[in-house]
Amino acid sequence: MSSAAPEVALEISGVWKYYGDFPALRDIAFNVLPGSTLALLGRNGAGKTTLLRILAGLSKPSRGSVTIHGANVREESTRRRIGVLGHGISLYDELSAFENLRLFAKLYGIANPARRIDEMLERTDLVRVRDGLVREFSRGMRQRLAVARVFLHDPEVLLLDEPFTALDDRAIAVLQALLNDMHQRGRTIVMSTHQLREALEAATHVAMIQRGQIVYAGERRQEMVDDTGWLYRTYGEN
């Protein structure tokens, strides 16, 4: 989270986003170091999802810029390096689990896709429903398949928007195991969340956003973990 770092995974410089006249993001600027896990915190409507969508290249900033490993996020080579999990599962109900993953494996140009798909289905405990249509899946199975999709191409940078919300226990366990694995392998993770305890325990860095502005960006401190209300009391409005 230091601008003096020799290399940054994500560089966010003076990002503004307007919806009409309303500034949803105001002059957001911070860096994310490679291998760090950033918890992006803030109340509902603070601008977390807007910022994550800009980081993912799904929306363009009105002003400012975002680079991932020095490259524009809309470049195809950059998008190959990122994995995005938004609010939806981003899977097709009419396709089977295997067909859904094969679609994204082809789009990401994964070598030996069948082996990688089977590996991810195994890690998410979905092998037995490999050829079942997603529309016939339970909610938990759909969520685990969504997790498998995000990790399928082994992204270097993960952008997760409230990843634990609405997940069942099994999906949470699968996601946490995959996130731990990614962190140990030096991948960069940015996740917005309302589950402060889990996020702060996993995070190496924290950014807090309030009314579209960053009010804290830095290393995670022990008092944040010991008292999850500390951050909001210290840097928040209330």
């Binding site: 993912a56 290249g57 799904l58 929306s59 363009k60 809309r74 195809e76 080579s77 998008r79 190959r80 990122i82 995005v84 938004g86 609010h87 939806g88 599962i89 981003s90 899977l91 097709y92 109900d93 009419e94 396709l95 067909e99 679609l103 994204f104 082809k106 789009l107 990401y108 140009g109 249509l133 999709r149």
Partner: protein, 227 residues
Amino acid sequence: MYLRQVLTIAAKDLRAELRTREAVNASLAFMLMILVLFSFAFDPGNSDVSIPAIAGGLLWIAYSFAAALALNRSFARELQNDCLDALLAAPLPASALFFGKALANFALLLAMEIVSLGAFSLLYNVKILAQIWSLLLVIALGTWAMTVMGTMFSALTVNLRLRELMLPIMMYPFLVVPLTAAITLTSDLLNGTPLGGNNILWMKVLLGFDVIFTSLAVLLVDTVLVG
């Protein structure tokens, strides 16, 4: 790689459509319904009415109305489960996404139009085999024009609440020129006039429209989808 991505998107759309048959069933039924209703209005047995002279108009009205129904689903399908976000985050150019969708739409529309052409021939007692290859060429070029405009406006209206209404309102004014060309050429062919001579200008218009608007769509689709 680009072609593979285009074909991957097209195959995905076709597979999903053939499993649900949402767009195909509605559009084909609508297309046939229009042809049947017009057969009541223009009695094919009445010698005062020259069916080949109005055949082009009849066919393309049915085709273009049904196309609006089918094309509306093109990007709307991606809203379910936020699939569009995953496609936009994936490393494929927006133009590959557009071409993949356009290709799937074109294949579906063309298949429905060929089925309807057979039904039209039976209902109106019109001989279509004499100029069948030229007819299929005109139908293909006219359908590509509708597909390009419809897929583009489907992307543009995907986040609108009234997209079912907005797509035809935005699409049809742009289709006046290619539909005029396709109608004229189709009527000529069904009257027994081959391509060439007087009607070659309309063929050039149709071809030119396809080239120009396909190029424009490729240039604009990233802006339309990401802003």
